[in-house]
């Protein structure tokens, strides 16, 4: 067994840190898109729009039922062969699209469950003052569902950050891609991947702290 090359590791930290913004960019954009899409899917699942419901069920089933890596390859390498306008698609865009669709399917289920968890009396009160369905959803139901769903959604965001590492298989140089390049130059694979693992870990732990604050914030209306 050889000793760890600590100097190499320390030198690698700033290099990989340079790619943290791209990783976070992909995760944040995909998360924002996925939240919107998942909310729409979830609302549809609750109110069941005739003619649309089966499509939503199919969408959720497919994107939960197949691996993220397969979906990414399908988007980046597969689809452009069939849809010519996609040949210009770059790895970052494809990764964001793939993460959005994949995670929106999971998040839709979490949000749907949260919507169902909002007390029935809240819906009735909103209806009783003459709100339309969309006003009721936007003003009363979804804000309360957000509180119920928040811990689960933060978990999906964490998964998503880690999921961005798959973008390197589409040729994107993000944290993982950069590490891979560095390691194949130095042959110090253990050191390189240990550094990137620790950096992911730190990012995720920081988020966990944020989650606690978010929950306190969302719960403030409900505290006695």
């Amino acid at each position: 067994m050889r000793a760890l090359d600590l100097d190499y590791m320390l030198g690698l930290v700033p290099v990989i840190l340079g790619y943290v913004p791209l990783t976070l960019f992909m995760a944040v954009v995909a998360m924002a898109c996925a939240l919107v899409l998942a909310s729409l899917l979830a609302v549809e699942r609750v109110i069941r729009v005739p003619g649309l419901d089966w499509l939503v069920v199919l969408f959720i089933s497919f994107f939960r039922g197949t691996p993220l890596l397969v979906q990414l390859f399908l988007f980046y390498y597969g689809l452009p062969q069939v849809l010519s306008f996609l040949t210009q698609i770059n790895g970052v865009t494809a990764a964001i699209m793939g993460l959005t669709l994949h995670f929106s399917a999971y998040m839709a289920e979490a949000i749907r469950a949260a919507i169902t968890g909002v007390d029935r009396s809240q819906w009735e009160a909103a209806q009783s003052i003459g709100m339309t369905q969309s006003q009721m959803m936007r003003r009363i139901v979804l804000p309360q569902a957000a509180r119920i769903a928040a811990p689960t959604l933060v978990n999906y965001f964490i998964d998503m950050i880690k999921g961005t590492s798959l973008a390197f298989t589409l040729g994107v140089t993000e944290m993982m891609g950069a590490t891979q390049k560095e390691a194949s130059g130095s042959f110090l694979y253990f050191e390189a991947f240990l550094v990137v693992a620790i950096l992911y870990w730190i990012i995720v732990e920081t988020l966990n702290q944020g989650q606690k604050r978010l929950e306190t914030y969302l719960n403030q209306a409900y505290a006695r």
Binding site: S121, Q127, S128, I129, M131, P143, A221, Y222, A223, R224
Partner: protein
């Protein structure tokens, strides 16, 4: 003038409301009494379309809805002509007392925020909760929550206010303050339809009392007559039990 014709609601085939006919004059305060499970709450909920009646016509404040052919637009219009006070208060849990009252004004009636806020504070003053404007429902007592619930319904300025057992879920210590507020609403000649088990309150506040049983209005009349000289045997039996 409120007109209800032939209103029928079934749950799984059994009629809970059986061809109800009812007229309520403007400013009239009508109290509904009767044993539980006789359709009192369902009557109120159908007038607000929280339950959908199968048949009948409801006319409130210039809005007339044929239950059998009610479109979504009809239903929203009818709900805007009525307001509802719930047994369990049902305040919006994500909004403060003030915001609960503002919500209908801003979102539904599209009034400017500052005007809505002034009106909400005015109403909170009337309900004696001016100091609770920024409290969330979870921080309020049952009685306070129900007073905000009544305030929310008052703000709408509806042609008809519906009260579904507004004091039944309250601890006894809070009942008085809620009834006091309802008295003050009644003094403003607001048209009210109230389901309650508070017989003294009914006698004092009602212009007319309806006795319901088996989904029908069995007997009705001014409180003195209905409570002192009931004709129907079922009403006599009911009154013996609640006294």
């Amino acid at each position: 003038m409120i007109e209800i014709r032939n209103l029928t609601k079934r749950f799984g085939g059994t009629p809970v409301l059986d061809r109800i006919d009812l007229d309520i004059a403007d400013g009239e305060r009508v109290v509904v009494i009767g044993p539980s499970g006789t359709g009192k709450s369902t009557l109120l909920r159908c007038l607000n379309f929280l339950d959908h009646p199968e048949e009948g016509r409801i006319t409130v404040g210039g809005v007339s809805v044929d239950a059998a052919h009610a479109s979504r637009r009809d239903i929203v219009a009818l709900r805007r002509a009525t307001s509802f006070v719930f047994q369990n208060y049902a305040l919006f849990a994500n909004k403060t007392a003030k915001e609960n009252i503002m919500e209908a004004l801003v979102t539904v009636q599209k009034r400017p925020r500052d005007a809505a806020e002034r009106r909400a504070l005015e109403i909170l003053g009337e309900t004696g909760l001016a100091d609770k404007a920024d409290s969330y429902p979870a921080a309020l007592s049952g009685g306070q929550q129900q007073r905000v619930g009544i305030g929310r319904a008052m703000a709408i300025g509806a042609a008809l206010m519906l009260f579904d057992e507004p004091t039944s879920a309250l601890d006894p210590e809070w009942v008085g303050e809620v009834l006091d507020l309802m008295r003050r609403v009644a003094e403003q000649r607001q048209t009210m339809l109230i389901v309650t088990h508070e017989m003294h309150f009914a006698r004092e506040i009602a212009d007319r009392i309806l006795f319901m049983e088996g989904g029908r209005i069995v007997e009705q009349g001014p409180p003195e007559k209905l409570l002192s000289a009931p004709e129907d045997e079922r009403l006599q039996k009911f009154l013996r039990r609640v006294r």
